[in-house]
Amino acid sequence: MTRITRPAVALVSISLAALAFTACSEESNAGDNNNGSSASGACDPSDVKLVGQVRNESNPYEASWLDGGDEFAESVGLTQERLTYDGDSTRQQEQISQLLAGDTECLVMNILPNGDSDTPPIVEGAEEAGAFLVTQWNKPADMNVTDYDQWLSHITYNGVESGKQIGDALAEAIGGSGGIVALQGILDTGAAKDRFAGLEESLAANPDVKLLDDQTANFSRAEALDVTKTLLTKHGDELKGIWAANDDMALGALEALQQAGRDDVAVVGIDAVPDALTAIQDGTMTATVSSDGPWQGGIGLAIGYCVATGELSVDDIADEDRAWYAEQFLIQEDNVADFLTPATDEADFDCDNVFSRSQGAIS
């Protein structure tokens, strides 16, 4: 008898404890909702709670994003809560609802939604709870930020432009003519489609550069290694350049080139991960594009902080600053040194400056 009940007792007590815990937080939540649901807050700066949420910290770009958030938080004397959800949409939603069940009056969230379809529930939740929300990268095209009061801004990057930038850099590196291959990302993502469209624009502008092949390596370093090996045997010396839709694939391609003993092929990528920067510095890689992860981690919190403390009012944010393309930077050998140590500039996060990197509204 006792052998059966002991685990049962443990289970029951755990669930009781959990129940009691959630009940408590729900109670405090109910109290808060009554007095705080105005779009422009008058929070005391020390009451603001900053949250940054990304997929995982094992990805250098997303880790640097959270570090940037920490730097901003430190500059205003606060700490950032770092959340990761392992690329799992369900877990992301759970974390968000837990946050929104707590004290939301002065809550500022800088969120990387897992995919387009994950954004609406987050936005609706924040709107209802009165939390200040900034999202980045993913949102459904037909969802307008201006329809909401608590969803302050959505920031993303123009993939067509970055695809074209590295396409042009690659064309220049191979002397304006020759055969290249493209390693595409996950084919059904917007980022992969836009970046490839950018390459096609670049090819149109460089008629002597010939696209020999385009394959997908699903944004993965290991897959890019295998695909590049195969493409090297297929195209041999005709191959002068490799265009990769992200740096991980570019680094996989570099390994394949090294294993094949080829050092005459130019490689470009996007994202500016640390290894790619080192490769550019060494001269083995030609170019990459940076969205400036630390800045992304800080800027979302900064916009939210400015509104929460009343320094900025939602009504004063121009419509074109509610959903916008941020500036991205082409990195080549001549300017790589500036990007090797990721850092944020406090001036970027000044309430008058938070939209200074805008390249225009998302059309």
Binding site: S58, Q215, T216, A222, T233, K234, Q259, P274
Partner: protein, 335 residues
Amino acid sequence: MTSPAEDVDVAPARPQPRRGVSFRDAGPPIALVVIFGVFAALSSDFRTISNVQNIMDTAAVLAVVACGITFVLMMGSIDLSAPGIMGASAIAVALMVANNRNDNDLGLIGVLVAVLLAAALGCLSGLALVLLKVPSFMTTLGVSAVGLGVATLMFAGVQPNISDAMLEGWAVERFLGFAYLTWIAAGCVLLGYLVQRYSRLGRYAFAIGGAEEVLSLSGVKVAPYKVAVFTLAGAFYGLAGVMVTSQLGAGLVQAGKGYDFAAITAAVVGGTLLTGGRGGVLHSVVGVLLVTVLVNGLVQVGVSPYWQGGVQGLIVVAAVAAAVLPQRRRNQVTK
């Protein structure tokens, strides 16, 4: 349904239910030869020596993972722990050989420790299976998460890049035209085959998959053998993680991503049954080559990347269907 007599060897040294090459085992190798022939006819780039080398080099890691998973499948269990165990061993080895994160330079000892760590994680799956009676599907999924967790902790935000000449050399140096990694994989296949064919562990793994009740009724304690099989599988995944690190020149948490289902697919394509008791290391190797030839061939022939995934899936399903047609009834259940 009575199974047809399959007397290939008239004087068996000891009772060995499936010896030699029966008609039913011939399906996957024939499919491999046919697919290879079709691609060779379609593409002049495919039938070059350098491309054959490339296929073998590409197949190396998957072959080692498949060696490990085959033993588990033979027992009638399933193993989804490869991604986590490979990730943990990849990061561990990258941090123990010469690298950019610390001053370690353990060389071969580092490789050994990483493989032992992986074996310990595999052992954990086995223990959870026999002691807690959790289905292997769940325990191995859990251990995969544990492995990824361990890997993420060791990763600590900065990717370890290796500078160890020996480990980097494995992917670059060649012997008789093939990379060292390919020879390591061949060694693993040979070892796996010997264990499967001649050791008690291998033969009991078969027997557990065939009829576990009969075995325990005959007084054999199956639990230790189950744990040992998962430990062995873990060690193979660990070595595979080391090999990925050698290829990529860096320790990645995602080193083993997708290898669990790729290896299961390869094993099943090669004729190993998910219900256990049938197949083996050599079967799985045929499956690995089939899958690798397919991926390589579709690129060489120039099939659009938008079509490749679908075409690949169709050919795999067709190959499995053709190979297991005679044993349809046994294929329907998974333990």
